[in-house]
């Protein structure tokens, strides 16, 4: 399996670490700023490119793993799909529905395997939570709290035109997961606090099945607070709870500070990439294809719109 990676940032590094343990060959990494740093660290056999198109043509890729900023997704997918190369695309699929539909078109025309990396659906804790019985769904609670992402090239997360904003970029993890668990959402109501390099949002959901949910997403936490994600699924016959804050399966204290880790033989990133690889090999449809990714993006955009307008937004009316 010949894989090329577009991008050399945080997600590219994360994926490269997983590929090192998988039966795939990362043959090229393309980044306009030059991928030499990540190649040296994680992929000694890969060729460096500054341009995705050249890599797609030159390396006879089975698929391109797109780890670039959201606003560049459409170009990367068009390039790969146009060259008959499959695409694994980091979430969100795009920053707008127009771009997402153009991606869908490119994938359709290219007839290539395609999946969006909604990694939460593959995380052992969230997968386990989704499998547990709670009776009829009542209220879902999901929180995802982090400092402002300072790892984006050219500070692209700070540009809402590029990132789509906190609901489209961060809350979408939980919006997608909750859709996966409880089905489509009828309406959303969202509020947020926004400043340069600070964003914190709440979105309340009413599912088509009648259940209520809410997602809290933060890009405003102090650096001293470890990334925190929490989930509760409350039903009429049970309650499921998880919090990364409560888990301490591995702890280490040194003079330099303290660390807490939750090690898995295969975590969410490994599982999503292995799933896609097996789909490329078998020709099977990946679990998070174009349609699923677009529906989750629609929820994120509905939330952004609700926060902009201070009114509830019916999700199916969000068409552009």
């Amino acid at each position: 399996m010949r894989v090329g990676i577009a991008g050399a940032g945080f997600i590219a590094e994360t994926h490269l670490i997983e590929y090192a343990g998988m039966d795939v060959d990362v043959v090229g990494v393309a980044s306009p700023s030059g991928p030499d740093g990540v190649i040296e660290k994680y992929a000694h056999d890969a060729t460096a490119y500054t341009d995705v198109a050249t890599m797609c043509v030159g390396e006879d890729l089975d698929y391109l793993d797109v780890c670039t900023p959201t606003h560049t997704h459409l170009d990367a997918v068009r390039t790969a799909a146009g060259a008959g190369v499959g695409v694994f695309l980091e979430k969100p699929i795009a920053g707008s529905l127009n771009e997402a539909h153009a991606i869908a078109e490119a994938v359709e025309e290219g007839g290539v395997p395609f999946m969006v990396g909604h990694v939460v659906r593959f995380q052992p804790d969230y997968v386990t939570a989704a499998s547990l019985e709670i009776g009829h769904p009542g209220v879902a609670r999901a929180r995802r709290l982090s400092p402002f992402p300072d790892w984006g090239s050219d500070d692209w997360f700070a540009d809402r035109e590029k990132s789509g904003g906190i609901f489209v970029d961060l809350a979408i993890h939980d919006l997608d997961y909750l859709r996966w668990c409880w089905g489509e959402v009828e309406r959303v109501f969202a509020r947020r606090h926004r400043e340069p390099h600070v964003e914190h949002g709440f979105v309340v959901l009413r599912f088509e099945n009648g259940a209520v949910g809410y997602v809290e997403a933060s890009w405003a936490q102090p650096e001293s607070r470890p990334f925190t994600s929490e989930l509760e699924l409350a039903g009429d016959d049970g309650l499921v709870e998880l919090s990364t804050d409560d888990e301490a399966p591995y702890r280490e204290w040194t003079e330099g500070g303290a660390t807490v880790e939750s090690p898995h033989a295969k975590g969410g990133y490994r599982r999503e990439l292995e799933h896609f690889v097996s789909c490329v090999e078998s020709g099977q449809e990946p679990d998070v294809g174009v349609t699923e990714a677009i529906e989750s993006l629609r929820l994120g955009i509905a939330a952004e719109r609700s926060a902009d307008r201070n009114e509830p937004v019916t999700v199916r009316e969000v068409v552009v």
């Binding site: 969202a190 309340v204 809410y214």
Partner: protein
């Protein structure tokens, strides 16, 4: 000098917590309990070694102060009756099931020569008091967003009877955190969007209570006050609030000071947690008793209790109309 204190109706689940305090305090004579339900009142009096007095006026005639543990719909009548008898009262939350009744209580308070307080025990929670100091000292800077929870088990009985309670989870489990947030920030809730429903229990009132609010300074404030906790959970529920500030975040979980207790056999077999937190009922009753003795306001006054009632009323209106509602306080 000992203060003569009684309990007016033992309907509320918090009655025993307050009664224990009244019985324990050396500066209080726990005169008695009256209750429209004689059996319930007598049982409560027996549990706490005091007298059951069937004639409420007779009891009021012997009291300096009383704690109202009646269903919400009876709060106003008890406040009126006690105030007319010159008896100071601490009224269980919410102050009243409607804004009109809350206003009537505020009017009584404004002209009464007695003290009237509202039972908001979270203001006495030590983690919450620590948060108040942190905010006052500017430890996290100005507040940008607030997220709270007050989930519980479905209390049943009159709590699920809209005639007596005035509503369900939104009536029961909105006011604690709303009051705490306004106590901590000095801001009121300006607007409420509510998703309410009945999805956990076969009851005629709401048990789903998710509120998206905005404070008067524009701060977004999300609250989940649903009765979504299964009967078999390790404790009664939770009461948390997290405040995001420009220089940091602080999180208060008033139920997280606890010891895990596993019972091996018998009817209580299972895992539960037992609180070791500073007793908020004790602090609440102490503040009330002292306020009566000193002739000062208790910690939470009826005008503040009214604010939380106004938020509840706006929440029900929002759920009915499907849009955010500006809270009317006057």
């Amino acid at each position: 000098m000992s203060l003569d204190v009684g309990i007016l109706s033992a309907a509320h689940v918090h009655t025993d917590g307050y009664a224990t305090q009244l019985a324990d305090r050396v500066d209080v004579t726990f005169v008695g309990v009256t209750d429209e339900d004689g059996e319930r009142g007598r049982a409560c009096a027996d549990r706490h070694g005091t007298e059951y007095v069937a004639d409420a006026d007779a009891l009021l005639g012997r009291l300096d102060a009383a704690v109202i543990c009646a269903p919400n719909a009876d709060h106003r009548a008890w406040v009126e009756r006690a105030s007319a008898a010159g008896v100071s009262v601490l009224c269980e939350k919410p102050l009243a099931p409607t804004l009109d009744e809350a206003r009537a209580i505020v009017e009584i308070w404004e002209s009464a020569g007695t003290e009237i307080g509202v039972a908001m025990p979270l203001r006495f929670s030590e983690p919450a008091r620590r948060a108040k100091r942190a905010l006052e000292d500017g430890e996290i800077g100005s507040v940008r967003a607030i997220s709270g929870t007050n989930r519980g088990k479905m209390p049943g009985g009159w709590f699920a009877d809209s005639e007596k309670a005035g509503g369900g989870a939104a009536m029961d489990h909105t006011v604690h955190i709303v009051d705490l947030v306004s106590h901590l920030t000095g801001e009121a809730v300006a607007e409420v969007y509510a998703e309410l429903d009945t999805r956990f229990h076969d009851i005629p009132v709401d048990d789903v209570n998710v509120l998206s609010m905005e404070l008067t300074d524009g701060t977004p404030f999300l609250l989940d006050g649903s009765w979504s906790i299964p009967e078999t959970w390790h404790t009664w529920g939770d009461a948390t609030v997290e405040l995001l500030g420009e220089d940091g975040t602080l999180a208060v979980d008033s139920t997280d000071q606890s010891v895990v207790h596993t019972v091996a056999s018998g009817p209580d077999a299972g895992v539960r947690t037992v609180s070791h937190a500073t007793n908020t009922s004790a602090a609440l009753i102490a503040d009330f008793v002292e306020s009566v003795r000193e002739g000062r306001d208790p910690m939470t006054t009826p005008d503040e209790g009214l604010k939380a009632v106004a938020v509840v009323e706006a929440a029900y209106e929002s759920a009915e109309r499907g849009e955010p509602i500006a809270v009317q306080y006057r």
